[in-house]
Symmetry: C2
Subunit: 334 residues, 2 copies
């Protein structure tokens, strides 16, 4: 196991301390661990909170900031944060406008966010939970009943974050988040496995000419073991899997994420982005916005996920709205 | 060789086409290949141009935009762009205020940028060349007379870009760029090698418990083959190598880059950032600004480089000035 770490059991804490040192816009709380936008509550604005296992950086802490998350709650590597941890984070940022939890669909995350939501409600804080389940690879999976949540989480967090910043009430922000999830589909491929630090062994074995088609972001099995082929062919298979779910029509507009899984160099992601552009052009789809980079990772796994979100102009306006986080940072061009 | 590519000889072109599809703020020109900020010249502003071999993404194309580069010129993987290619890019963005070339210190890059500078001057365009040679690992190296240029390139491009945007004349922008380089030092470590697509074999062999201390961004040998150790010990060795050059004093302020070499997951870079914060605190140095991520890469090589730049308040103001590129994007906080 070759990693830039100290004690394998201290990786998450060390990384959080590192984040605290370099991102003055974040408040990093330890024991319990959570990261907030700042120490002030944003009164009158719905508070957005997400979280999940660590090892997927920059998700979720890198998306804390104006126009996106108010708090992120990191668990141990590939393990849900505790209900108590989520509850503490939520209490820190909750406002009279209520709390929205954005939760990737894994059994542990659902359970712990649900328990935290019950605790908040019992103390009179209006709380909604939105589940992200965009990964079309498999219906049920290791750690999951129903589809897994992956790349669309970033789109949900951005668009719901802008809706909350615009002052929409909780029910409407939650509706918008669910609309984004319902219009999103993702699929991933892995070329190599990751190694969880405290385990020290690859999550799965894979041959030198093989890929896992439909891999999960913890290395969970996908649809099939397949041969490594040229990027154009791999992309076509991925796009077809996505589109058999989304059923995009000529004239549709999409936001796309070409996402590296942690160990993938950027030049390869741009090669995949070129295949994406060919696909959208061939199908008469407008590639309205795209992110190319490593946003939802699986430690050092190589490979990528592709996420497409069908958008209407209102969702696109929320996407374009001002955001100020360590990772996404822009103001609308006038 | 496991890569998300098509034809191994077409990787750079495919990636440039992908960039064109997803970054509307960039104009991607093909044959000869170069990327410009937009199709308009920024009259009255010194034009900043950088470039070098591909395989180091997002360097340099990801730093094209307002407040940073006017053009970037990518060569083949790990190979200098041609003098003609550089000259064409420069002609596209040159203004009456002149042209500044920012060149990493590799023999091929120096030669070709120098030839392009001569061509520009012969057609009456005032041109300065600034060499970046921040890598303290070795004095001479494969492809290099003198020290190699690595992570400080980003700092030079950002600060000189802001100085140019502020309307400073060519000689002053060049002086500022040289001041940044003179106050910067970097060193890298590799845990694994990269593979150049059209070669198909690792650049170097390295054992399962070994690192290359002082590696170059093309996998060039550094100071020594050493044992993999905890991040804190590796960081201390790197910081000492840097500091024996910079001789930082209590009270100094630095900009730091904790840079992944392409295959390194972000969580490990934050672990290294935590070691950086301990180092600066122990030495009474102010960590004024820091970037943590993969900015100057070597394809899928794992490991990192650390760059420290000693800054004064004027340089820090240029660092904080508005920048709008695919990678760095911020406005000063008031």
């Amino acid at each position: 196991m070759k990693k830039l770490i100290n004690d394998p059991t201290a990786v998450v804490g060390d990384a959080l301390d590192g984040m605290a040192a370099v991102h003055p816009s974040l408040s990093v709380h330890r024991n319990p661990d959570y990261v907030t936008r700042d120490d002030a509550r944003n009164t009158g604005k719905v508070a957005l909170i997400s979280g999940g296992g660590s090892g997927h950086e920059p998700l979720h802490c890198g998306f804390v900031g104006k126009g996106m998350l108010d708090a992120a709650v990191p668990g141990a590597i590939f393990a849900s944060p505790s209900a108590n941890q989520i509850h503490e984070a939520a209490k820190h940022v909750a406002t009279d406008a209520g709390v929205l939890f954005i939760v990737k669909n894994y059994t542990g995350d659902r359970l712990n966010f649900q328990m935290a939501a019950d605790l908040l409600r019992s103390s009179g804080i209006d709380t909604e939970v939105v589940i992200v389940d965009d990964d079309v690879a498999v219906e049920d999976s290791t750690h999951t009943a129903g589809r897994r949540g992956t790349g669309a989480t970033v789109v949900v967090e951005k668009i719901a974050g802008a809706a909350a910043e615009a002052g929409l009430p909780l029910a409407e922000v939650a509706d918008i988040a669910r609309r984004v999830n319902d219009n999103s589909a993702s699929i991933g491929i892995a070329l190599t496995s990751s190694i969880v630090p405290h385990i020290g062994q690859p999550n799965f074995d894979i041959g030198p000419d093989e890929i896992e088609f439909g891999v999960g972001i913890h290395g969970e099995p996908g649809r099939r073991r397949a041969a490594l082929r040229p990027a154009a062919e791999l992309f076509t298979d991925m796009a077809n899997a996505i589109n058999s779910e989304l059923e995009l029509q000529t004239g549709d507009e999409v936001i796309a994420i070409v996402n590296g899984l942690g160990g993938t160099p950027l030049i390869e992601l741009y090669v995949m982005a070129n295949e994406l552009a060919k696909f959208t052009e061939q199908h008469g789809i407008t590639l309205s916005r795209a992110l190319v980079g490593s946003y939802v990772t699986a430690l050092e796994m190589t490979g990528c996920t592709i996420t497409l979100t069908r958008v209407t102009s209102d969702l696109l306006d929320y996407w374009d709205a001002t955001v100020d986080t360590p990772v996404l940072n822009w103001t609308p061009t006038s």
